[in-house]
C-alpha cells in the first residue's frame, strides 16, 4: 500500500541512461490532511481517530479510542467495549496502515503507518513504561546499529521530555541494576555525559565517538 502513485518515467532518454525514473505526483496533494485521514481503507471513525492521533505524533490506546467514539460520555463506554475490540480487530485486518502495539502491562495502542514509523511507535510505547528500560534499549540499539554512544541530555528533548533530574536519577539507578550492567557512561572534554553499551562498544571507542560527536564534528564544520 502506497501513499502516492509512482509514475513510470518517460521513455527514450531515461531508458537509454539505463534507468527508469519515477516521477512523483505533485506534492500539494501528499501533505498530511484530509487525504491522510481518508487513507486507503474505508472511512471508519475509529480508523480516522487513530490516523489523526498518529499525525499528531501520538499513539492512541484502546481506552482512548472508546472514549473518543463515545463522544466523551462515560456511561456509554462500557457497553461498547466488546464492540470496539471487534471493530479494531476488523480494521487491523482491512487497513494496511493500522498497527497495534502491546505494552508490557497488556495495554494495546494503535497507530497508522501513514504518518508514524514502527520505530517511533516502539519508542513511544517504551516511553510509557520504565524510563530505565527505555534508555537502555535506545543506548543498546544505537551502540550496535550506528554505532554510537548516546548523549544523556537527548532524553530531555522531545519525544522523551524527561527533566534533567529524572534522567540523571534514572541513569544513576541503572548503574546498580544487574540487567543494565552493560550500560556505561563516558564524559567528553566539555563534561557532557554519554551512555553506551559495552555489549557493542569498547570503552576507548565509545569515549572517542562521544568526543567526536560533541566536539570533533563542530571542529570540522
Amino acid at each position: 500500500m502506497k501513499l502516492f502513485a509512482l509514475k513510470a518515467g518517460s521513455p527514450g532518454l531515461l531508458r537509454r541512461a539505463g534507468r527508469e525514473y519515477k516521477g512523483l505526483v505533485g506534492s500539494m496533494k501528499e501533505t498530511s490532511g484530509t487525504d491522510a485521514l481518508e487513507g486507503p481503507g474505508p472511512v471508519d471513525e475509529a480508523a480516522a481517530i487513530i490516523r489523526r492521533a498518529s499525525e499528531a505524533g501520538l499513539l492512541i490506546s484502546e481506552a482512548e479510542i472508546r472514549r473518543a467514539l463515545a463522544g466523551g460520555q462515560p456511561g456509554a463506554e462500557a457497553d461498547r467495549e466488546a464492540d470496539v475490540r471487534t471493530r479494531l480487530l476488523t480494521l487491523l485486518g482491512e487497513c494496511d496502515d493500522l498497527r497495534e502495539v502491546v505494552a508490557d502491562n497488556g495495554e494495546r495502542s494503535y497507530y497508522s503507518s501513514l504518518s508514524m514509523s514502527e520505530a517511533y511507535a516502539a519508542l513511544l510505547l517504551r516511553r510509557q513504561g520504565d524510563p530505565a528500560r527505555l534508555i537502555a534499549e535506545i543506548v543498546r540499539q544505537d551502540s550496535e546499529v550506528y554505532p554510537r554512544p548516546v548523549p544523556l541530555d537527548m532524553f530531555t528533548h522531545p519525544p522523551f521530555d524527561f527533566t534533567l533530574e529524572e534522567v540523571v536519577q534514572t541513569a544513576a539507578g541503572m548503574a546498580a541494576r544487574e540487567e543494565y550492567s552493560d550500560i556505561e557512561e563516558t564524559r567528553t572534554s566539555t563534561a557532557r555525559l554519554f551512555l553506551y553499551s559495552t555489549l557493542y562498544l569498547e570503552p576507548a571507542y565509545a569515549s572517542m565517538l562521544a568526543e567526536w560527536l560533541d566536539v570533533g564534528q563542530s571542529n570540522n564544520p
Binding site: 539505463g18 519508542l123 554510537r148 522531545p158 569498547e202 564534528q217 570540522n220
Partner: protein, 702 residues
C-alpha cells in the same frame, strides 16, 4: 551546428588593461569542459604560463558557471572562481573557490557562462554587465568602501535586482586572506586580493534573459520533482536530528533539525518548522537551521528565516536578528551566514564562560559577520582563527610583535572572550596595519615563513587542522579514513570537497551505508565506521575518485557540492537510496546533449586531470607523490598511543596510506611512482595536447 539548452552561450572576456571586452562562444570552445572549474582550468592552462604570480597582471581570474546554473535544478546557485592562489605556499598554484547567492543565476540571465578578467586597470574600476551591455566603470569613489556600501551604491545604479560581487578593503590592500562576496553573506575565499591587484572593486550583473531547457519541458518538470523528492537537509543529511514520527532512524549529528516545537522565533509571528515529513516537498526549507545546528537550541529564538542561493530549497544560511547587539556594539541587529561564515568571530576565542547556552556565542558571531563580511576577510576554513589562538597562547605573538604594538591590543578582552576585541583585530588585518595583521593576512604558509616557525610544528598539532602548503584539511582522515586522506592530497588549497562526508554523516546506520556503498563503489568495504577504520581496499579508492570527480563535476555544471551527490535519500521505500545518475540526467535534459552517468563522469575526469596537469606544470615537477601529495604528521599519531586499525582511533598507518595512494593512482591510470598522469592517461581524457606540452617540459612519468 546543434544548439544546446543550458548554456547561455557566451564567455565574456574583459581586459582591464585596455578597458575592452569581447565574447567567445562557450559551446564551441569549452563544451568538453562544461563550465565552472572546467573553463577555469582550461583558460589557466592555455593562457597563464607557469611562473606567473597571483598579483601579476598576467594572472587571470575566471568567474564561471555551468549549464545548470540559473535553472530550476535544485542546488545550482554556486559560481566557481579559478585563479592563481595567493595563500598557496611555498609557491602559488592554481586553485578554485566558489560563492553562492544569486550571482551565478544572474550571470546566466545576462547571457554569459563565464567572465574572464585579464590584465590590470590603471585606476580602481568596477565592471557593469547589464545583459549585452558591458562597461568598465570608474570605481574610485567605491575604493575604500566596505562590501555592503559598495553593493548598495551599485544597486542604486543598476537596480534592486542587480547582483554585486565585491571586494572589501582587505582585497583592495592585497591581503591574501581576502574574499569576494555577493548577496550579503556569500563569499568566495582566497580570490579577493587577485581582484584587488587588478584594481577591480566589483562586478555588478543584471540579466533579464533566460536559460533555455534543451529537452522536453514536461520531462524536465518530472526530473526536477524527482530530484526534490530525494533531497534531505543541508549536506544531504537524510535522517532527522531527533526522533520524528515518520522516521525509522535519527542521528544527533545531522543538520535535519526542524521539529515540532522548534520555530523561527524572530519571525513575526514565529513560524514552527514542524516534523518536516520528507514526502512534503513544500516543507524542505524548514528542515535546516544551521545557526541552531552550530550554536545550539538557543539560536532558534534569534532565527528570522533561512536564506541562501537561487533555486536551492535547503536554505543553509540562517538570517538572525539579535536586537541587543545593536546598542551593545553599534552594529546592525540583523546578520546572516552559514558554517564558517557564521562562526567567523566565534572561532577566534578559546571558550565562552557560559558555554553554548550563553548569549555570548551568538553575539560574537554577529560581530564577526558584521566585520568580516564587510571588510572581506577570508578565514581559510577557520585556519586564521586556529592559528591566532595557537600563536597567542604559545607566546609567538608576544615574541614577534614589538612591545608597542603588542600593547596596542586589549589582550585582556581577548582572554575574556569579549567580542569587541574583534573590532581591534579585523580592521587591522584588512588594512595590513602592524606586524600581527600583516602576518595573519598572508595565510598560514607565508606566516610561518615570515615568523620563522617550522611548518613541521604546525603539522604535529592535532587540534590545529593544518594539512599542507598553507592550508588546512577539509574532511580528511579524522572522519573518512583513507578516502578523506586521498582527497586532501589532491588540491592546492583545502579541497572544498563534500561528496564523501555528505554520505558518511548522512545519519544512516553503518549497515545501511555499507549496503548503499556496495551498490555505488562496488563493495561494502568502501565505508568504515568512524574511529574503526579497516585497511585500504580498492572500493575506497573508487570512492575517493568518485568524490573528487563529482566535486569537479558539480563545480563545472553548477551544482552545490555541499549538497550533492545525492546517492542516499530519506525515503525508506527506496531503501534510503538516492540516485547516482541525477547529474547526468539533469545535464542531458537541460542541454539536450545526452550523456549517461559514465560518460559525464569521464568529462569530470578530464577536468580533474587538467587540474593535476596545471599543478605539475606550475610546480615544475612530476614528483607529485613525493612533493605535493603530502600528509601531516598528526595524521599518523594518536595522542593516547592507540595503534592504527584499533577501535577508538582515526590514526592512519603509513604503509597503508602508501597502499592507498597506489590504489588511487591505479584507479585514475596515473603513474604509481610519481603520482603523475601518464601520457596515455592524458590522451584517454581527451587531452593529448597537454601530454605533448608536459612531455616537452619533461614532466611526464616514465
Amino acid at each position: 551546428m546543434k544548439t544546446y539548452g543550458g548554456w547561455a552561450g557566451k564567455v565574456l572576456r574583459v581586459d582591464l588593461s585596455t578597458g575592452r571586452s569581447r565574447t567567445e562562444e562557450t559551446v564551441d570552445k569549452y563544451k568538453d569542459y562544461l563550465g565552472g572549474t572546467g573553463i577555469g582550468y582550461k583558460v589557466m592552462w592555455d593562457e597563464v604560463p607557469a611562473g606567473t604570480k597571483p598579483h601579476d597582471p598576467g594572472n587571470k581570474i575566471i568567474f564561471a558557471v555551468g549549464p545548470l546554473a540559473g535553472t530550476g535544478a535544485p542546488c545550482n546557485g554556486r559560481i566557481a572562481i579559478t585563479t592563481l592562489w595567493p595563500t598557496c605556499a611555498p609557491k602559488p598554484l592554481v586553485a578554485t573557490g566558489h560563492m553562492g547567492g544569486h550571482f551565478a543565476a544572474e550571470l546566466k540571465y545576462a547571457g554569459y557562462d563565464a567572465i574572464v578578467i585579464e590584465g590590470k586597470a590603471d585606476h580602481p574600476v568596477w565592471l557593469s554587465v547589464a545583459d549585452g551591455k558591458v562597461e568598465v566603470k570608474d570605481g574610485r569613489h567605491l575604493w575604500g568602501e566596505g562590501i555592503r556600501r559598495t553593493t548598495a551604491a551599485i544597486s542604486q545604479i543598476m537596480g534592486p535586482e542587480a547582483v554585486v560581487a565585491a571586494i572589501g578593503p582587505a582585497g583592495e590592500n592585497l591581503v591574501p586572506m581576502s574574499n569576494v562576496m555577493n548577496s550579503i553573506s556569500h563569499s568566495a575565499g582566497g580570490a579577493g586580493s587577485v581582484m584587488g591587484s587588478k584594481n577591480l572593486k566589483a562586478i555588478g550583473v543584471r540579466g533579464t534573459g533566460s536559460v533555455r531547457i534543451g529537452g522536453n519541458k514536461d520531462e524536465w518538470e518530472k526530473l526536477v520533482k524527482y530530484h526534490l523528492s530525494l533531497l534531505g537537509a543541508n549536506n544531504q543529511h537524510v535522517v532527522p536530528n531527533a526522533p520524528q514520527p515518520w522516521a525509522e532512524f535519527w542521528s544527533p549529528g545531522t543538520r535535519w533539525v526542524g521539529s515540532k516545537g522548534r520555530a523561527w522565533g524572530a519571525a513575526a509571528p514565529p513560524i514552527e518548522t514542524g516534523t518536516c515529513e520528507p514526502h512534503n516537498l513544500n516543507r524542505i526549507a524548514y528542515r535546516t537551521n544551521n545557526a541552531a545546528f552550530y550554536l545550539g537550541n538557543a539560536a532558534w529564538q534569534y532565527t528570522v528565516r533561512g536564506n541562501g542561493c537561487t533555486s536551492c530549497p535547503i536554505r543553509c544560511h540562517t538570517m538572525v536578528k539579535m536586537p541587543a547587539v545593536a546598542s551593545k556594539y553599534g552594529i546592525s541587529e540583523m546578520g546572516q551566514n552559514t558554517c564558517m561564515g557564521l562562526l567567523f568571530g566565534w572561532v577566534f576565542f578559546k571558550s565562552f564562560p557560559a558555554g553554548l547556552d550563553g548569549r555570548a556565542n551568538m553575539e560574537t558571531c554577529m560581530v564577526g559577520m558584521h566585520l568580516a563580511d564587510d571588510l572581506g576577510i577570508w578565514c581559510n576554513y577557520g585556519q586564521l582563527q586556529r592559528d591566532f589562538q595557537k600563536l597567542y597562547y604559545e607566546g609567538h605573538i608576544k615574541a614577534k610583535l614589538g612591545e608597542k604594538e603588542f600593547k596596542s591590543y586589549s589582550w585582556d578582552k581577548y582572554e575574556k572572550s569579549d567580542p569587541s576585541f574583534l573590532f581591534e583585530l579585523l580592521p587591522r588585518i584588512a588594512a595590513k596595519e602592524g606586524e600581527l595583521a600583516c602576518a595573519l593576512g598572508l595565510g598560514t604558509g607565508y606566516l610561518l615563513e615570515r615568523w620563522s616557525i617550522p611548518e613541521a610544528e604546525w603539522g604535529k598539532d592535532h587540534d590545529l587542522a593544518y594539512w599542507k602548503m598553507g592550508h588546512p584539511k577539509h574532511h580528511s582522515c579524522e572522519e573518512v579514513g583513507q578516502c578523506g586522506t586521498l582527497i586532501n592530497l589532491m588540491y592546492n588549497r583545502d579541497p572544498q570537497c563534500h561528496s564523501h562526508v555528505n554520505f558518511i554523516r548522512n545519519g544512516l546506520p553503518l549497515q545501511v551505508q555499507k549496503k548503499l556503498a556496495a551498490e555505488i563503489w562496488g563493495a561494502p568495504d568502501a565505508v568504515d565506521a568512524i574511529g574503526a577504520y579497516t585497511p585500504m581496499h580498492p572500493s575506497k579508492a573508487r570512492m575517493a575518485k568518485w568524490s573528487v570527480l563529482r566535486k569537479e563535476l558539480h563545480d563545472s555544471l553548477s551544482l552545490c557540492n555541499w549538497m550533492g551527490p545525492w546517492v542516499a535519500s530519506p525515503l525508506k521505500e527506496r531503501g534510503y537510496r538516492g540516485d547516482d545518475s541525477l547529474e547526468s540526467m539533469l545535464y542531458s535534459v537541460a542541454t539536450g546533449d545526452k550523456l549517461d552517468r559514465q560518460e559525464l563522469d569521464r568529462v569530470a575526469e578530464r577536468i580533474f586531470v587538467l587540474h593535476r596537469a596545471l599543478t605539475i606544470r606550475d610546480m615544475g615537477t612530476k614528483e607529485m607523490r613525493a612533493r605535493h601529495d603530502l600528509i601531516p604528521e598528526w595524521a599518523f599519531e594518536d595522542e593516547s598511543g592507540k595503534a592504527p586499525f584499533t577501535k577508538g582511533t582515526t590514526r592512519m598507518d603509513r604503509k597503508d596510506v602508501e597502499t592507498a595512494k597506489d590504489m588511487f593512482y591505479d584507479e585514475l591510470g596515473w603513474d604509481r611512482a610519481t603520482g603523475a598522469p601518464t601520457a596515455e592517461a592524458y590522451r584517454k581524457a581527451g587531452m593529448g595536447d597537454v601530454a605533448i606540452e608536459l612531455g616537452r617540459r619533461n614532466l611526464l612519468p616514465g
